[in-house]
Symmetry: C2
DNA sequence: GCTAAAAAATGATTAATGTCAATTTTTACT
DNA sequence: AGTAAAAATTGACATTAATCATTTTTTAGC
């Protein structure tokens, strides 16, 4: 597997390492024992904005988009999650409604831990609370970077930055030369960037002409991530 | 004091109630005892993005902007904090650099708790860890709403929404009829909205013509918050 | 209260991005 | 492989918002 080579990446990515990696074996087992696994089909929703959490979710396999539907039908993807990430725990911890929805992008295996059980686990094992706290606070910093970047940068810069995130999320699709293949609809891509599909397509066209990417049907091959990163112009992210 | 009348407000506001309000008296005292108070002059920085936290801060008195400086010199204000709020605790908890800076907008009194002491307090009093967790997770949900809203809505909608936040932050400047007086530079206002000062000024002009606000020098009187809220069009926030 | 400096406001123009309509390509299914 | 539906792409145009230049107003210090 190709390792995350760029320190900037972690300022925009929730977690490169699986969430449990820091926990002692016995805790991992306790956690796994409480988890109910469920299969989801491509496109299916895991939870929906405005409802209250009944527990938290863990991505065992697959990719998930966290998104928000806006008045007027537009969608904004807040974040792409992949294997090893927890879902919906901020709303669980705040005891508030989900601010966003989660839907699987590919067929997926999702673990569920009901809140009653999780509360007991947190009470019994301080490490679990600490892990949640550590993750949440990291993700908080990521959102701060996302806000500043997405509000103030041009769409071209945002598309380039989005490639950094996608590069990370799809790196298991990497080939020997380090090129990564992205499999994502233009609509979802545009909804991450926060732009119209047509605008995204035009920028992809530009990047293709500049030899930074290649397209194979809807799939996109990242050919020159360093240059894309230069275009993203994100040395202001900490 | 005028109470927050709008349920939408809390989806965009970190905390209306002072952070300690839920804690038992004895914990409040312990916390207060560890706090070193310091005076800050208008414009002074409390901490700077890219550095590591030495502890956390508490706003005893005054208003603080949390902002990020972007390549090219632009500034994006992430959030306005006021009396009773904690600062810099996400970076403290994640043990990472501050993603943003904090500067006082008015002369202010800020409490500081060094990290060594805070770690001991958290260890001794579970309520403190829980309080931090609860706050952070709430703020996380707020940032999700902010992202979707500020990326996808027009500047006019964002200005209207910003009035909701300012209404809350400046409500101690309210008069008998519920109108609230905002005292903030156009530049800071524009940096919250994420737009150019000129664009902001033009929109303020429009709102004035529509009788939603009045200006008194740089100060702005909110006259019709309900209508501004309609313009903001944020019934999509949970 | 007067004055210089800073901030706010206005005007003209340009650039970026969104929208709508039409066409081409790809995908999924038989 | 053939075909209908969905997705991607392209083109023309409208709209929004940024930028630059200038004027007016406000603020802070004497």
């Amino acid at each position: 597997m190709i390792v995350n080579t760029n320190p900037i990446a972690e300022r925009f990515i929730f977690k490169s390492a699986p969430i449990f990696s820091g926990l002692p074996e016995n805790i991992k087992e306790v956690f796994a024992a409480q988890m109910v696994l469920k299969q989801f089909r491509k496109g299916q929703n895991i939870f929906t904005e405005g409802t209250y959490p009944a527990g938290i979710y863990f991505i065992k396999k697959g990719k998930v988009k966290k998104y928000k539907t806006l008045n007027g039908g537009k969608e904004q993807i807040i974040y792409l999650c992949s294997e090893g990430e927890l879902l919906g725990y901020a709303a669980f911890l705040s005891e508030e409604r989900y601010p966003d929805s989660a839907a699987v992008l590919t067929d997926a295996t999702i673990g569920f831990i009901p809140k009653e059980k999780l509360l007991i686990l947190m009470d019994q094992h301080d490490e679990i609370s600490k892990m949640l706290m550590k993750n949440l606070s990291h993700e908080f910093g990521v959102l701060v970077n996302v806000i500043a970047t997405y509000i103030r940068k041009s769409v071209r810069e945002r598309v380039a930055l989005t490639f950094l995130i996608l590069h990370e999320k799809f790196k298991d699709n990497g080939n020997e030369t380090g090129e990564v293949l992205i499999d994502l609809s233009r609509e979802d891509f545009a909804n991450i960037v926060g732009t119209a599909v047509e605008t995204l397509v035009r920028l992809l066209h530009d990047f293709k002409e500049e030899n930074l990417i290649e397209t194979q049907g809807r799939k996109i091959l990242i050919k020159n991530m360093p240059q894309l990163l230069k275009i993203a112009n994100v040395t202001d992210a900490f």
